[in-house]
Structures are given as structure tokens and as C-alpha cells.
Subunit: 331 residues, 2 copies
DNA sequence: AGTGTTATTGCAACCGATCTCAGCAACCGA
DNA sequence: TCGGTTGCTGAGATCGGTTGCAATAACACT
């Protein structure tokens, strides 16, 4: 395959470069026969335009970066999946950027994005810090964030209603007959995590029962710690709300290792609605976030902003997803 | 931030473009003072070179595509994670490409890669088909595959020794006292899946016990089907080897829903060594693949090939990772 | 026939780098 | 002092496209 530039196609079709260019990117500007002829020739040669050259010249590309802290976390993986799809439905090419929670890397990715003329970017932040970094770039105003953002209405966001989600979980548990419901938080840092926790505290108090936050630290072993705390209690709650599905998995696993059964001994409900939850043991009851919608909406918001400058803040409704990890309280 | 091209830096530093260029990409070719001066000026302006322009001119970029069928599968997620790291340790930028098993998409990605002057690519194939697609590109000879490849020694590969892995699993189970050991296969299509199955069949026969392949179909519900098959048997095996961790999860989950306990009633061992397995209920005993090594090695192989044209086939050793899903046979 | 539009296409500069080649100054030995 | 290196820098073409502008063709109308 010798280098296939626009010029060779032009020559082969007997027209000028610019005509070939137009045939591809501004079809209405070239006579139909000519265009069809060019396209046919190009096809025959197996020619495609160089996105690099295009980006360089037009100062805008179809690369759209998705910045996530950890692709290993199934939530982000599912997000990435739906976003890749949403992206190339619209002719974009998603670039996955994994920061591992390193703000320096976030910064690096931002400058890289700018250099690549990305029309916009999507950020699923690990910590509030990331959104700070964001603001240091004028690029910052072409980013949509999958989290709540504080004190900056200029950036579009899409989130799920945390309070509503916790409420749903609580209601589900109440309806099952639980009155003592604990909470295990996830990794702190995001507004979302904060919101869920706050919601739990508030709603719990409102319903008259004292909130029981199981010690969970702020690291990956939140689940384990929470489980230990549970075991040490004289009067442990009969149900546990986990800040997210991963934490729920960890809690159930840790509990299981100590001989505590779910849902027989305690009910556990997660928050996320990961597909993985269906294959957990037991299948995880959880508050489902419409992840696929989030992905699509994020891209729509970005495009919308790019066109008319509008900045929306979409809040989606979570849903209860009952599987096997909750049941009536023991005894 | 007005456009920051090499020319503005040149002007600001009072030198010619080409000197700035050299200051960055061929430091030894420019006088030290000059270089330092330029670098300082550039720094002050917050200038970085445009990877696009560079790629266009040099016909080689630092984008390296990682093509996976499904990022939602934790195995690929972990691979992606270690590869991003390995990549940017070496100054590359990993582009995650998700095919969802669609060969057409694989094709599309390949041409995109070529267009972006990727120096090489990494493919973790979902099916044998993908590697076919690969060969249609001259790019094909700058790809390393994370799987075995048949009939084409020209492409570097890195895999883990399937046979050895199954052997390890079998030995572990035997040493625990199991004699009747079943197998649940994963999604068919990759050589790896095939190899594991073959190894099971062979080794099982060699050890004198009749192989018991639990019906698992070829789709996502392999685990469920396997579990059902297990339940229907008059004399079910006392232990099960799952083709990979995800299948193991599904099997345990399905079994659990039917009241069968792991490892009390049946032992289950997986294959992969996913981090997630540690948080499963029970924590999954498994044959661990050195995923991180695979990522690094894949990149090394690619670089090596690019330099001296050598094509290696690395086969890594798997390890036993004992957690909680295996124990002695019941009764 | 003369002139004004409109539809197409060609020309050439430009995007932000790289790289070959040539120019020039300093340095070396004879 | 002069030819020969060597070291460093500038010129300018080039990578693969895009796009404003000019040129030409085609068609309509008076």
C-alpha cells in the first residue's frame, strides 16, 4: 500500500486536490457526477482521509477524550463502553484516558486534548480536584462532567439524583421490614459520594431511625472495614446500604468470610446497577443508574454546548433493581 | 491562549523554527546555550509541540491502539489499565478501541490506526476472526496479539501457558482430594479458550478420570447453563474448573441461587486472577495470569519488532492463587 | 449579441511541525 | 595565511488536507 494521499486520488480521478477534498467534506459543493466519480475512484484505491491532516488544518478533530480515574472499576468500564458506542454513532473517536487518580496526569491529558484539537471532552472525576484542573484550561469550558460540580455553572453535567437513589434504597428496605439500616461509604472525594452519604444521613434521621455509618475508611478496603465494624457491634443493623456496587461486593465478601450470610443474616443493597451484580453471589439488589443514558447524554450536552453555547445540568432518575441480596430482616 | 505554534516560540527566542524543532527533538544537534534558552522561552509560553503536526510530518506517532472486544470484561479492563501505564512510561498514548466483537469495527480501527501513523498496535482478540482482519493490513505486521495465533509466525504474541494453567488447577483440586472434576467453558472463539478446553480434556483423560464438560453454550450465560447442567446430574463432579474468572463468578452465582454452596458443596476454580475475585463471595481461587507483565511485554515486543524486526512469541507461566472457593470434597 | 448570475473547479497559501541542504563561523595544522 | 573539518543555524520543501479567491462554463434574460 503506497502512500495514499489526496493527491493520488486526485490524479487518478483527473481532478484537483481541492475537488477531492470537497467531494468528501462538502458534498453539495461539487457536481454530482464528479463527486460520485471521485468517490468511486477513492473507494477503488481504498482511500480514506487522514484525520491528522484534517485536524491540523481545521483545528478541530473527532477525537473525544474520556477521562476516568480507573477503568478497572466496572462503573467506569460500563461508562466507557456506552460512550464508545455513543461516540462513534456520531462519528467521534473516543480516547480513553486513565488517570489512576493522579491529578498531574489529568493535567497532562488536558493539554494533550487541546493539542489534538478535541472538540470537547468528558470527565468522570475521581476527586473534586480534577475539576479544579479542568478550569485551568480554556478547554475547560468544553468539558462535560459526569458528577456534580460545585460553584461553576459554566460546565455541563450529568448525574443521577443521589438523594432520590438513597431514598429508593431506604424505602425498599423499609418495605421489607428493616428499621435499622447501616451505611458503608465508598471512596470519598467525589461530589456524588458525598451526596449519597449526606442523603443517607438526612433521610435516615427524618425517618426517625438513627443513622449507623459503618467505619469504612476511604480506601479500597472500605468493604472489609465496614464488615469488621459490623461484626464488632452489639446490635448490628439488619440491612446495609453500600455507597456503590463495588463496596457492596466487598462488604458481602468480607461478611461471607466471617460466616455472615446475605440476605439471610443481613440485607445489602448497592448503588450503580452494574451488570456484574447479576452474577454476584447472591445477585445484588441495587439502585440502578442509567449508565447508558448518561453516556449518550454527556455527548449530546457537549455537542449542544458547542453549537449554541448552552450549558445544561441533567439529573437522571435512578431505579430500584431488586435481585437477591435483600430480604426481610432475620427473626 | 493564542495559538502557540513553533513559529511564535522561534520568534520569541530569536531563532528559526528549525532550531526550535531541534531543541526539542534532537537536543544534541543544537548548542547548549541556545537550547536552554529556547526551552526556557517555550516553558514560559507554556508551549508544547503538536503531536498531530509531528505525526503528519514524520509519519509516525505515539498513539498506540489497544483493541479489545469488551472493556466491560474485567480481564480486558485490567489489561487496559496496565497497558496505559506501560504505554506512557514509554511516552506512548494508548487509544482504547472497543469492538464489541464486531469484526467490521475491528477493520475500521485498523484503518484508523494506519491513518494515525500508529507505530504498532495491540490486539486482544475476541475471536480468531480478528486476527484474520489483521492480516489484510500491512500494518498487520506491526501488531502484537495477546493470544495465540495460528499459522502466522510473523506476528508477535504473548500468552500464558494454557496447558500449564489447567494442570495447576487440576493439581490443586487433586491435592484437595477431588477426583471428579468438571469444566465449564467460556465464550468460544479465541485460541486461548480453545487451548484451555483442550488441555482440560487431555489432562483429565491422562489422569484417568473421565472429563465432564458442563454444557455451557457459547454466550454470556455460560455460567448459568453450566450450573443447570450440574444440578441435573445424578453424580455431579465435586469440583469445577471455569474457563475464566467471569465464568466462575457466573457459575457460583447460579449455583448459589439453587442453594448449592461453594466451596462446601462444590469447589470452583477460575482462570485469570482478576482483582475482582478477591472481593467475590467466596473469594475466588483461581489460576492467575500475570496480566501486568503481559501488558508490558506486549509493548516491549512491539518496540523490539519495530527496531530489529524480530518476532517473538512469549509464553508466560500462570500461578495458582488460592483463595476461598476451593476446599476438600464434601463427605 | 451582451451582460449578469450561478454552479463548478482550479490555484495557492496555510495548519505546525521535520529534515535535507547549504551557509557560515570558529578552529586546526602546516 | 590557507584549505579542511567540525559545529551550529537558517532556508525552504514537504506531510495531507482545507478554503478563500479567481477563473471558467453554463444558463437566463433583455
Amino acid at each position: 500500500m503506497p502512500d495514499l494521499s489526496i493527491d493520488v486520488v486526485a490524479k487518478a480521478a483527473g481532478v484537483h486536490r481541492s475537488t477531492v477534498s470537497r467531494a468528501f467534506s462538502r458534498p453539495e459543493a461539487v457536481k454530482r457526477e464528479t463527486r460520485e466519480h471521485i468517490l468511486r475512484v477513492a473507494e477503488g484505491l481504498g482511500y480514506t482521509m487522514s484525520p491528522l491532516a484534517q485536524a491540523l488544518r481545521t483545528k478541530t478533530s473527532t477525537f473525544i477524550p474520556l477521562i476516568v480515574p480507573d477503568i478497572t472499576n466496572p462503573f467506569f468500564a460500563e461508562l466507557a463502553k456506552t460512550m464508545t458506542q455513543a461516540a462513534d454513532e456520531r462519528g467521534y473517536q473516543l480516547l480513553l484516558c486513565v488517570t489512576n487518580g493522579d491529578p498531574a496526569k489529568t493535567d497532562g491529558y488536558f493539554t494533550a486534548m487541546q493539542a489534538m484539537y478535541a472538540p470537547f471532552g468528558i470527565v468522570a472525576p475521581s476527586t473534586k480536584v480534577d475539576t479544579e484542573a479542568m478550569k485551568r484550561f480554556d478547554f475547560g469550558h468544553k468539558v462535560v462532567v459526569i458528577d456534580r460540580v460545585e460553584g461553576d455553572d459554566a460546565v455541563p453535567t450529568v448525574t443521577v439524583d443521589s438523594r432520590r437513589g438513597i431514598m429508593i434504597a431506604l424505602e425498599h428496605l423499609h418495605s421489607l421490614g428493616h428499621t435499622s439500616i447501616g451505611y458503608v461509604s465508598g471512596i470519598a472525594g467525589t461530589h456524588t459520594a458525598q451526596d449519597r452519604m449526606d442523603a443517607y444521613l438526612e433521610l435516615s434521621a427524618e425517618s426517625g431511625s438513627a443513622p449507623v455509618v459503618l467505619d469504612s475508611g476511604s480506601d479500597l478496603d472500605a468493604g472489609t472495614r465496614g464488615a469488621e465494624h459490623y461484626l464488632e457491634m452489639d446490635n448490628p443493623p439488619t440491612a446495609i446500604i453500600a455507597a456503590n456496587d463495588m463496596v457492596a461486593f466487598a462488604v458481602i465478601s468480607a461478611l461471607g468470610q466471617r460466616g455472615v450470610r446475605v440476605p439471610e443474616d443481613v440485607s445489602v443493597i448497592g448503588f450503580d446497577g452494574l451488570a456484574l451484580g447479576a452474577r454476584f453471589n447472591p445477585p445484588l439488589t441495587t439502585v440502578r443508574q442509567p449508565i447508558a443514558d448518561m453516556g449518550h447524554i454527556a455527548i449530546e450536552l457537549a455537542e449542544k454546548q458547542n453549537i449554541d453555547g448552552s450549558v445544561d445540568h441533567i439529573v437522571l432518575e435512578p431505579q430500584l433493581l431488586v435481585r437477591g441480596s435483600t430480604s426481610g430482616p432475620r427473626k
